[in-house]
Symmetry: C2
Subunit: 575 residues, 2 copies
């Protein structure tokens, strides 16, 4: 932890910055995250009037004259102060004639200058003071003073810095900025629009630098990365942000295992030193395997989940399955004599029973939940029940999902296409149309495209998808066939990319890691809003500044747009 | 230089990536930029099938088996190939029965795999082949293969990486991402709008993270930086981009000299090793001094400009001044006897003449250009003439502006306010309303605000403003007085910032460096478009993808906007 645990306990409403020249005798600080994770401690007092941070002083500074700048954390009469900055706290004693009753040491103040005053804070900055998230977001600049936000944002900065060192300095990647004012992509219904000064012409804020990074490969910049700002307009969704950040990577002449090794090394190198080290390589499972085993393509592999359920839990799980999925669940309780205590026992043959016991490696006292139905649907239900069981058991105090454990998993061999939701006879890309088919399945594109697997890979951490990528199609003809013939997309909007592939595009592939989600998991934060300095609310609002806001009509004019209020269309019809 | 100079000379239309397993005997490469500037050479062949880059091989590799991936740069029959990647070129010879007639060495190919084919390129990638910029931008992915674009983008990545090391690892700055979907700022007429899904409500793409970085200081994140994407909609302007990047910095408890030392150290640390080192500290001049001396607030200080003019040049300069500024210029030629050969000689007293000679430190053969008028206007004209004279002299072969010379200058003590252009009785901020007044001039705010100087500072390099910043106002009352009383702004839109200052804002200040312009000057590029991977044209278009583009009406609906074509308003009036 970056701060002493008692720091946040000591926060007070009184908070004004002050500059002090003191003779330090006593000081206390904690900076282990920095000490252990970097080659040298950065110089926090260069270029400014202070000589030390509040948290830096030790008995080794005894006798030195120091200048400190900070906020008054606590004040008793005019004799005793606790001064605070991001780095910690220090006690300051203003000289009195009488002997100080407490402490073995004293600090002699020479001069003090009040730099600013502070109004009564809207909430006390203490961990145990419950605040609504709305209040925290409204006064974000005060919330940022909390121990947890300081820790989260500083850890994020350091982790990204180490990723850059790994990519740039160790492996020759080039950090390249790509535009965020771009053209809308086919089917890009979730893209924000930006009106231009040309009537009826719009830019679009892209969901990722996908096209640009592939074009960079064509351009011979063969190891690209970017900490890329991306945009997605999904309306109101909890724990999503309209703008988010991804570690965006692309390489030429690489295959799936190359990207996987790169990412394993990246996470190992950048992992915070106050956590257990990352063990590589990460295990890999195919999409078919994870679905059959865990009932999801992003399983939490920290736990197996086979024990501890009570009989009344089973009832609640059966109800959950019936209520949420309209699906029957049959529990099987295994006795010492391996008999089944279950309503299903009568409908199953002895040989089937033994085969199931063997397949599931069940042991005495195990509970097995059985369901029947279409494979994907049944697996998915059981996957949800597994998490439901975990929730249940954790309320009983069984630690299944150890918060200090980070369990990574690669999921590979996804299907290349899925049936379209609105018309299941047509195909859509399972991920995006630039994903290369699995080398063994290319022939299926021309016969049974639904069965073709892709060279897409997901990285899963503790049940969350934290990254995904693929080897891309580098052959223009194959790309055209998939876009035009299989997906029935209008290729005109992608003509620049198809043309680029025609001019000697190298084989290439890449990946994007969701930085906000990753840092959220690493810091154990309940929401990605806790690892972003100024997040939007789940409705996409900035509660501090009242964003988005209305705009006077004369400022819309240069962009040739008018607001059509929902009532307008009614008015129009009436008209 | 990163590439051998002959690399770009050798580019050919034929260009298909190929993977080769060869027995290398001869290779050639140049990677001095990396070798000299980084602690170690990054590993360019990790995670991929190649064992070496094309430019890496030396005679020390003799006898090793290597795998190369690259583009065919040149091919003669089926006996001889030049293989290319970003790193350089290597010769490959396909074994023949007959003895090779050239070279002391040979390379034995074991296997070769053709990875992709390449259509005839729209232009040959050779330095001496003239291409219009429009063609280069249309096929940007091919233009990126050129020596110069590879050099520019790789240098940019390395320079930014070193800036990050300096700020993060050496000086404890925290890299914090701030939102780009924000609220429009008062008077922010140049801000792009982003319609939200709430009728009539818009986000705005901010011109800089100014408000956020000040709020971070209030939040105790006392050393912030960000390589920040910024947006400015200025319509069509040459050499401006609708999105651009700045190195954005803010610190608490700092003064002007602190920021200046920080930036001097930053540039010195990150300066490319193939250039002359940066000498610090940079000289400082006040705004009044630079205007009087150079006639501009961003002087090119590489040259003094006092000699070499011919009589016919003077005529052309007088015409330039008359045509462009409607202003009379009087040239004075100094003879050996210090007499003036000038029409003005008759109208000036001997004592004045001697005083002028003394003040200007003129010498024999000097030419002095005199003009009269309002101080700022006259200075500004003379400043423009100085550059005009430099242009003239350089066409004569006099090297005044050495391209290898980097001449930095701090300009300080700017005025805090300027008269508004549209109503000169009212004031507007010379820079922005958060700039702190000069400590000696605070009393002037209440008496003669026009005369108050600010704590703003600009960093000038070779006649270009490459950065600017200020110490900010941290007192809420002073900020309110300046916004409401002096600038007559609507403070409601900034209420969150004013409120934040009330909660114990520390003294703080910062700066922003224009990264695109800086890299443009460092690389000696003619345009900032040459240091951006995918720039917009001067009309704000992406010529490769045809951006901005029209959007079907149904995609505008969720945003409650309609396009009002210029003809619509006429139609409305008719209606």
């Amino acid at each position: 932890m970056y701060f002493p645990s008692w720091l946040s306990q000591l926060y007070r409403g009184l908070s004004r910055p002050i500059r002090r020249t003191t003779q330090p005798i006593w000081g206390s600080l904690y900076r282990s995250l920095l000490q252990s994770s970097q080659r040298r401690i950065p110089e926090f007092s260069s270029f400014v009037v202070r000589t030390n941070t509040c948290g830096e002083l030790r008995s080794s500074h005894l006798g030195q004259e120091v200048t400190l700048c900070g906020w008054i954390q606590y004040r008793r009469q005019n004799t005793f102060l606790v001064l605070r900055d991001f780095d910690g706290l220090v006690q300051v004693i203003i000289p009195q004639d009488e002997k100080m009753p407490t402490g073995e040491i004293e600090i002699k103040v020479k001069t003090a200058e009040l730099l600013n005053a502070c109004k009564k804070l809207p909430f006390e900055i203490k961990n145990f003071v419950k605040k609504t998230e709305a209040l925290r977001l409204q006064y974000r600049y005060l919330d940022l003073r909390s121990f947890q936000m300081q820790y989260n944002l500083r850890l994020r900065s350091q982790m990204v810095m180490k990723m850059r060192e790994y990519l740039c300095n160790l492996h020759g990647f080039v950090d390249i900025e790509t535009p965020t004012l771009f053209k809308r992509t086919p089917g890009g219904a979730k893209e924000f629009l930006v009106p231009s000064r040309e009537p009826g012409k719009f830019y679009s804020l892209p969901q990722s630098p996908q096209q640009f990074k592939q074009l960079l490969m064509v351009g011979g910049l063969d190891r690209y990365f970017q900490v890329a700002r991306c945009y997605r307009d999904e309306g109101s969704r909890p724990d999503r942000q309209p703008e988010f950040t991804q570690i965006d990577i692309e390489m030429s002449f690489v295959d799936q295992t190359g990207i996987q090794s790169l990412i394993e090394g990246l996470l190992q190198y950048s992992w915070p030193n106050d956590k257990d080290p990352v063990v590589v390589p990460f295990p890999t499972m195919t999409f078919a395997e994870v679905l059959a085993t865990y009932g999801t393509d992003k399983p939490d592999t920290r736990f197996g989940m086979k024990k501890y359920l009570k009989r009344k839990d089973i009832e609640s799980i059966r109800n959950f399955a019936a209520d949420h999925f309209n699906q029957e669940i049959l529990p099987v309780f295994l006795n010492a004599n391996r008999n089944w205590n279950s309503p299903v026992a009568n409908f199953i043959m002895e040989s089937q029973r033994l085969e199931l016991i063997r397949l599931m490696e069940t042991q005495e006292e195990d509970v097995v939940l059985l369901t029947a139905g279409e494979h994907n649907k049944a697996c998915s239900l059981l996957g949800k029940l597994r998490l439901e069981c975990a929730d249940l058991l954790e309320t009983r105090g069984v630690v299944l999902r150890d918060p200090t454990l980070f369990s990574f998993l690669w999921v590979v061999d996804f299907p290349l296409f899925l049936p379209k939701e609105e018309n299941p006879r047509e195909l859509e890309s399972a991920h995006h149309p630039f994903t290369a088919p699995h080398p063994s399945d290319i022939h299926l594109l021309y016969t049974e495209p639904k069965k073709a697997r892709s060279q897409h890979y997901d990285l899963v951490l503790n049940g969350n998808e934290i990254g995904g990528g693929s080897i891309r199609i580098h052959n223009a003809e194959l790309q055209r066939y998939i876009l035009a013939t299989l997906l029935k997309e209008d290729v005109k909007m992608l003509s620049h990319l198809l043309q680029a592939l025609d001019y000697g595009a190298p084989p290439h592939g890449g990946i994007a890691l969701g930085l906000d989600r990753l840092i959220c998991l690493v810091t154990g934060s309940p929401s990605i809003r806790d690892v972003i300095a100024f997040p939007k609310s789940f409705r996409g609002h900035d509660l501090m500044s009242n964003t988005p806001d209305s705009v006077p009509p004369e400022e819309l004019k240069p962009y040739h747009i008018r607001v059509s209020k929902p009532t307008d269309s009614k008015a129009e019809r009436a008209h």
